[in-house]
Symmetry: C2
Subunit: 430 residues, 2 copies
């Protein structure tokens, strides 16, 4: 029997749909990786009764671990510690040493704040240093400490209390795993393997058909937990299994490989961004530059997302206006005149222009209609021309017709471009 | 007393964090607009017991309406109708007329499917035509009908059963609102007002102090539901109240204005992006161009997020390398030599260079250290220099020290830049 967990996300802004929750999915993936079965994610407002009800619901549902996110700030609507302490029947006590450590952090931030109010700061500081009796403190990443609160009578759930900002929650999760209290809570967990394959190209229904065929050939897929999902235009097959089922998983991989060889671009879970970054980094380093129109900087933004990308990204030109296309990317105005700014020849000229302008080995050119306006019958909204050229010759050219709104067209364009860049890099290496 | 609702999102992919739920936030906003108080959103897997537990939890929490999304498909792991029928004690009956209508839809889609399996199709068709006794049918948008299931004994909650794909759920929600069963469930709802103020500058603890002061002056803030939250480096105050409490809300606004006048940049909920877009759009149109280093295209990407931005964004230069700074943005190499690429003079030169290169009215220059490497004692990771210059004179220069990882530093930099651009635009208008 595997350990079972519930997640409580607090915050009126999340509950009311004003901001999207990132912590629930993130925590769920981390728990699953560790073989913990997540029963429910409950999103609840900053209200004492509702938070207590959510804890009681999960505790009553045969759960070993409850993870909460949010509600640890200095203000009055931050209630989590208080409600958890009451729920676990562990009275709150001021921890003077913790108060001092939080104070040091606050002092460090002090310079950044204008008109700092000392009384407010002290009240908030003290509030954040209140700790339920017997709880393990997780040192603050921002200003709020986290907590591991063990069950009172060794029967109820352990409650892991984490702050709301993902930048604080994620590192604190790692710290929490190393505490004895969390080890005890997760003792029932069986370690599961999680593997990810990524495909680019086939529709999801085609993949579903392939899975049916593989099962029909006698591969006992029911012994694995296979989930397929469409993510940023790519298909992901995530599979979880107990280590003794590894041979079954290998047969699944073989079946997918057989049917989707060229489309299966990742068998180890690496994203296309990771694969491209690896090849660009080298050795030898392969430099890249971008000249993009409809993506407005997002392609350069995606290429520079990773630490160390300055070694291979030389730069980019966001060429929204025709004048910029000519001036910055060296596109021949006659080409724009003859084919229109959104056309295959202009995309190719942008790619070649990026190479020339930045002295890069690889150049990317993107031009399209992100919408909602600007479409025509011949080139409807979602039409995008992409070229990836190599200085030493060779070019990938693609015209795509993307569905969705402006943000989706722009985002999907960067995914298609990543795959074209990958294809050109593979061709260069061959 | 206002009506109270709960939302149940079903689906193992959502629970496991593989795909992001869009229905919970969407339904929550729709309910709130109608004055319905949402108590919890519960995300649960495709498991009979867990779904039943989630319904029981919400029903026991003084709730008038439960909305479910997902689990209405033709396959065996689609359980929602069955579990809801059992929960509401309303036996399932085949509705032959509905079965016929679904069949017509299936026949229409037939052409689109390869290797169609007739037996599977018929079984699925019949499954989707099973209706709990006394429930109101919502006609399919895809192939799955929705349901409004009234309480057995007029005391439990009404359950609105909707399909998972947002493209089906959203139009079906509108249809559902017109049914007598939903009208009855929402009879207790009062229409609520929702207002948002935005501040840039003060820390959250300072705002908490202001709220305490305003309450101490006798403004009955407990009659409003005030939530403060830090979002992308800005502070948001979201307030919900019944229309008769509007005068109290006005006193809150006055109190915030008095204490945070220059920091309160939005009283109507408009984001800084919306405000900037409005002024740039004109008339008169004010054009803008970017020369950015550490943000790697994200500033141009943010400026071009909005439809119609091509009217005022002329373009951008992503100048990662020093050569690109000189060549594309016209930065004097001696300046880089003397002050370093990450410096106030280079940021200013980038802003002026963007104006010159693109012929824009406004130029933005950004240079900084996004990390994780590249920091020094004098310029640690998170140091960013930003300049926003106007061709007709005047410039905003700012050095900031941002916390967080690479992605956070890059994102926060675009927020600071948006505020500097707003400040320069206000100065131009003055």
């Amino acid at each position: 029997m595997s350990a079972r967990a519930g997640i409580v996300i607090t915050g009126t802004e999340v509950l009311s749909g004003i901001i999207a929750d990132r912590n629930g999915p993130w925590l769920s993936e981390r728990l699953r990786e560790r073989g913990v079965d997540v029963a429910h994610i409950v999103i609840t407002g900053d209200r004492r009764d509702d938070l207590r009800d959510a804890l009681a619901f999960l505790a009553g549902d045969d759960i070993d671990l409850i993870v909460t996110s949010g509600g640890l700030g200095p203000t009055a609507d931050d209630l989590t510690t208080e409600v958890v302490a009451e729920f676990a029947e562990r009275p709150l006590r001021l921890d003077p040493a913790l108060e001092g450590r939080i104070r040091v952090i606050l002092e460090r931030n002090r310079a950044r704040w204008r008109r700092l109010d000392d009384a407010a700061l002290l009240a908030g500081n003290r509030k954040q240093a209140m700790v339920p009796e017997g709880a393990t403190i997780l040192e603050p990443v921002g200003t709020a400490p986290g907590l591991v609160v063990p069950p009172r009578d060794s029967r109820g759930p352990t409650i892991l209390v984490l702050p709301g900002p993902p930048g604080e929650l994620q590192p604190m999760w790692v710290t929490a795993l190393e505490t004895d209290a969390m080890r005890a809570a997760l003792a029932r967990a069986t370690v599961l393997e999680q593997r990810i394959m990524r495909l680019w190209g086939p529709p999801e229904s085609q993949l579903a058909q392939s899975l049916r065929e593989i099962a029909a050939e006698g591969v006992p897929l029911e012994e694995l937990e296979v989930t397929t999902c469409l993510r940023r235009g790519e298909l992901e097959i995530a599979t979880v299994f107990t280590p003794d089922r590894a041979p079954v998983y290998e047969r699944l991989v073989a079946g997918i490989r057989e049917r989707h060889g060229p489309e299966l671009f990742s068998e180890d879970g690496a994203t296309v961004d990771e694969q491209v970054a690896r090849v660009l980094t080298g050795p030898p380093v392969r430099t890249v530059a971008v000249a993009e129109s409809c993506t407005g900087g997002l392609m350069a933004g995606r290429l520079t997302e990773r630490a160390g990308s300055s070694a291979y990204v030389l730069g980019g030109a966001v060429v929204y206006s025709n004048a910029a296309k000519v001036d910055l990317a060296g596109v021949d105005p006659a080409l724009i005149e003859a084919h229109g700014a959104v056309s295959a020849p202009v995309a190719a000229a942008l790619a070649e222009g990026a190479i020339a302008r930045f002295g890069a080995l690889l150049g990317i050119g993107i031009t399209g209609i992100a919408g909602p306006g600007g479409g025509s019958e011949a080139k409807p909204v979602g039409t995008v021309f992409i070229s990836v050229a190599a200085r030493d010759g060779g070019r990938e050219d693609r015209r795509v017709q993307l569905a969705g709104d402006r943000a989706m067209v722009r985002d999907r364009t960067t995914t298609v471009t990543m795959h074209l860049l990958r294809a050109r890099l593979l061709a260069l290496a061959a």
